[in-house]
């Protein structure tokens, strides 16, 4: 195993929508490397389907302030309103930028960018659903990812493809923590690459592989948050994790909310449109946390379908077949491929699926990482996209607001990193900064323990899906933490089969599991402490929102002794006062 050294002004870790948008901003201004464990076009942004909201008002009256109101309300008043204002205002330019970059949006008859309805997005503060989501059929994320990658090709951005970052290096020589480098592992050779750099922006995406039923890719293992957490960077609001109502039964593959935006209806085993009972105004287009809970309740109360009565239906059979082919081609294909059913004639069996991390690396609106509850900025460290928590999504993200988040805050993060590094000097890297990674690799390769990485991961996924998902209680969370603690012990006693250097995914999966375990632990501890129900965090034993005690963000730290410690910080308030969330 060889060690190589590189020097850059700025490094971006991750090449999904957030990383690529940042790269477009940084490359050309300062010497930049983009390090990504997947080829950029393999990133999970490409899986996003439904759309990206912006109040363009191309098809009906709309204002960014309405979008901001919906986002605040959708967040169950845990979103920071300064950040939400910025996101919703800059959304309009972000969409126009993408169009100028060549994005193949679906168009109106007049040739403008078309817009459609999406859950939780309303006109005039909740009156009725509004057409706000800009889209490209049901492959909006694919088009965004391709477009951003194309622009990076045009700009000759310097990619290190299939390089996996394993560590970050801080310098504390002047008494203040500052980024000085990252250590990456080259999958094709097993070589180690040390990148000396003045700035690092993490854009590593989510960690949905913590759950058994998930819409997330196998590679979404929370590497960025995980490795920063170990370096004493706190994680914000991890307990707020979104379960999307409509995952394909048994697979978890997503069927976009666009299906309901186009008129699809949820039905229980009796054919009843149960969302009419739960959210009389917006019905099937209520926010995801509410719909996921409603499905959970149908199943719990015996109105689920199938031999185990454990799913409900997404019904598209009443939609014109041409509309399905034009607007929902991919997701209807998924139903055909994986369940062998024809959505034009049969309703699709669905169940909630683990989907999106509202929490993550705490940042401000410039993408700078905040290291504590006093707002201390870590110099040179940035984060954007799903791995970051700005927080624009609070306790529950609205559909289409993540594609928006990644382009708006990817751009902002890139911009502020470029500014910072062009005014800062390089710090000399200490010799041997890669030693910790080398030690961990050789420890895993030489370990002879009895446990298998895949067994531990499977058990983690099961306990998280059973005990820490749509509905939680003190007992279920206790069960989860007991299992996680045991699994962490077992993780210290593993072995892997592959001892080689070349494309050793056995080793990589072992590294990734470490992050999933650490983040799951902090997630559950945060959920245990939060004795209220807000957004995606629903406690059956505390079924109301408690603004007096809990309108605050969780910050979880991993202390030197390995224990998780919680702190809290205030929500940034604004124009919209908390009120009851009814739809």
């Amino acid at each position: 195993m060889k060690v190589h050294y590189h020097s850059y002004d700025a490094v971006i870790v991750g090449a999904g929508g957030a990383g690529l948008r940042a790269a477009i901003e940084v490359a050309g201004k300062v010497k930049t490397a983009v390090i990504t464990k997947l080829y950029p076009t393999r990133s999970h942004t490409g899986a996003a389907q439904g759309g990206m909201c912006a109040a363009l008002a191309n098809v009906e009256e709309d204002y960014w302030e309405w979008h901001a109101f919906d986002t605040v309300k959708g967040s169950d008043y845990l979103g920071d309103q300064d950040a939400i204002d910025i996101m919703c205002r800059e959304a309009i330019d972000a969409v126009i930028d993408l169009e100028h970059f060549g994005m193949a949006f679906s168009r109106t008859p007049e040739g403008r960018i078309d817009q459609r309805r999406f859950g939780g997005h309303t006109r005039n503060h909740g009156e009725a659903p509004v057409r706000r989501s800009c889209y490209a059929a049901d492959r909006t994320g694919h088009m965004i990812l391709q477009t951003l990658y194309q622009q990076c090709v045009a700009r000759e951005v310097n990619f290190f493809n299939e390089f996996q970052v394993f560590d970050i290096i801080f310098d504390e020589s002047d008494g203040e923590r500052r980024v000085s480098g990252v250590v990456a592992y080259e999958l094709a050779t097993g070589d180690i690459h040390v990148f000396a750099t003045k700035g690092v922006l993490f854009a590593t995406g989510g960690f949905g592989k913590m759950f058994k039923i998930s819409s997330n890719a196998h590679t979404l293992t929370g590497d960025g948050p995980g490795l920063l957490f170990r370096k004493n960077i706190p994680m914000e609001d991890l307990e707020f994790y979104q379960f999307h109502p409509t995952g394909i039964y048994g697979f978890g593959i997503l069927l976009s909310e666009a299906a309901r935006g186009e008129g699809g209806i949820l039905r229980n085993v009796h054919g009843e449109r149960f969302m009419e009972r739960v959210a009389p105004t917006v019905k099937d287009l209520a926010p995801r946390d509410m719909v996921a809970r409603a499905i959970h309740a149908e199943i719990r109360e015996g109105r689920g379908a199938g031999p185990d009565k454990d799913y409900v239906y997404l019904d598209l059979t009443h939609l014109p077949p041409e509309q399905i082919d034009a607007k929902l081609p991919d997701i209807t294909d998924f139903a055909r491929t994986y369940l062998g059913i024809e959505p034009k004639q049969q309703p699709i069996p669905i169940q909630p699926t683990a989907h999106y991390a509202m929490g993550g690396i705490p940042t401000n609106v410039e993408g700078e990482v905040i290291g504590d509850s006093n707002g201390t900025i870590i110099r040179g460290l940035y984060a954007a996209g799903e791995c970051a928590c700005v927080s624009v999504h609070g306790a529950n993200r609205l559909g289409t607001n993540s594609l928006l988040d990644i382009v708006v805050f990817g751009k902002r993060g890139g911009h502020s990193m470029a500014n910072y590094v062009s005014q800062t000097d390089h710090i000399d890297l200490r010799r041997g900064v890669e030693q910790d990674v080398l030690d961990r690799i050789s420890a895993i390769k030489s370990a002879t323990g009895g446990n298998k990485v895949s067994d531990i991961r499977t058990e983690l996924q099961l306990t998280m899906t059973d005990n820490a998902s749509v509905v939680r209680t003190a007992e279920s969370l206790d069960a989860a933490i007991t299992t996680i603690n045991r699994l962490k012990e077992e993780y210290n006693n593993i072995h892997i089969d592959d001892k080689g250097e070349v494309f050793n995914y056995d080793l990589v999966e072992a590294m990734e599991l470490g992050h999933l375990l650490d983040l799951a632990e902090a997630f559950v501890i945060g959920a245990q402490a939060r004795k209220e129900s807000r957004g995606a965090h629903w406690r059956d034993d505390y079924p109301t929102r408690d603004d007096a005690n809990w309108m605050k963000h969780t910050l979880a730290y991993r202390d030197a002794d390995g224990q998780v410690r919680l702190e809290y910080k205030d929500v940034i308030s604004g124009r919209y006062e908390p009120m009851e969330r009814k739809y």
Binding site: V153, A217, T219, V269, T337, V502
Partner: protein
Amino acid sequence: MTMDKSPQIDSHEKEVKVTLRIKRYNPEVDTRPRFQVYEVMLKPGDRVLDALHAVKWKLDGTLSFRRSCAHGVCGSDAMVINGENKLACVNLIRNVGTDLTIEPIRGLPVIKDLVVDMEPFFAQYRSVLPYLIANDDPGYKERLQSQDDRERYDDTTKCILCACCTTSCPVYWANDEYVGPAAIVNAHRFIFDSRDQAASERLDILNQKSGVWRCRTSFNCTEACPRGISVTKTIEEVKRAILYDRV
């Protein structure tokens, strides 16, 4: 709605024995590729990708293959499954059978097991200027594009760069200078986009000896494309655009 036609999905489907013959090559020990046989139990509704995971996670962790999304949108897991280029994650055991021979895609250098070197493929992609080139300044507004103009290039926007097409092309196997169908698809994406102004530059590139004229219209690529893109038709349209100087 009547619930008569509602599908019942059986989560207790019985497992069946699946035999995988996998072409393996580890550059650190093997001098040449070899086949290794594994048997795993799976449900008929499981994916070929699940079969590979069952091997890797239960029997032999040294097996290497790429994968990410697991539902046919990222393009990571193109491989030769019973002789045909396919994505492992969109093919169910029920449809491909319980006797599987799995090999790496052909025409790109094998690095380890099912992992091939994708760099030549992406270099060919980059060579066709695969990005919008438009020099007018649209100001702070979107460019307009009619629904018909948008539809004109819709098919080729679906490409996920999986390489199933290019690595099923006999011409590409014989001569890796040929840019290959995937690169042509991605050139077509912009040549026929009404907003783009560099069609003639791309057509010049594809008119060279490594370009479209190498294609022998054998349709392998079209059959292989998991996104259902009419790849050969796309190539024909580019040829016609070169001949008649018209897009």
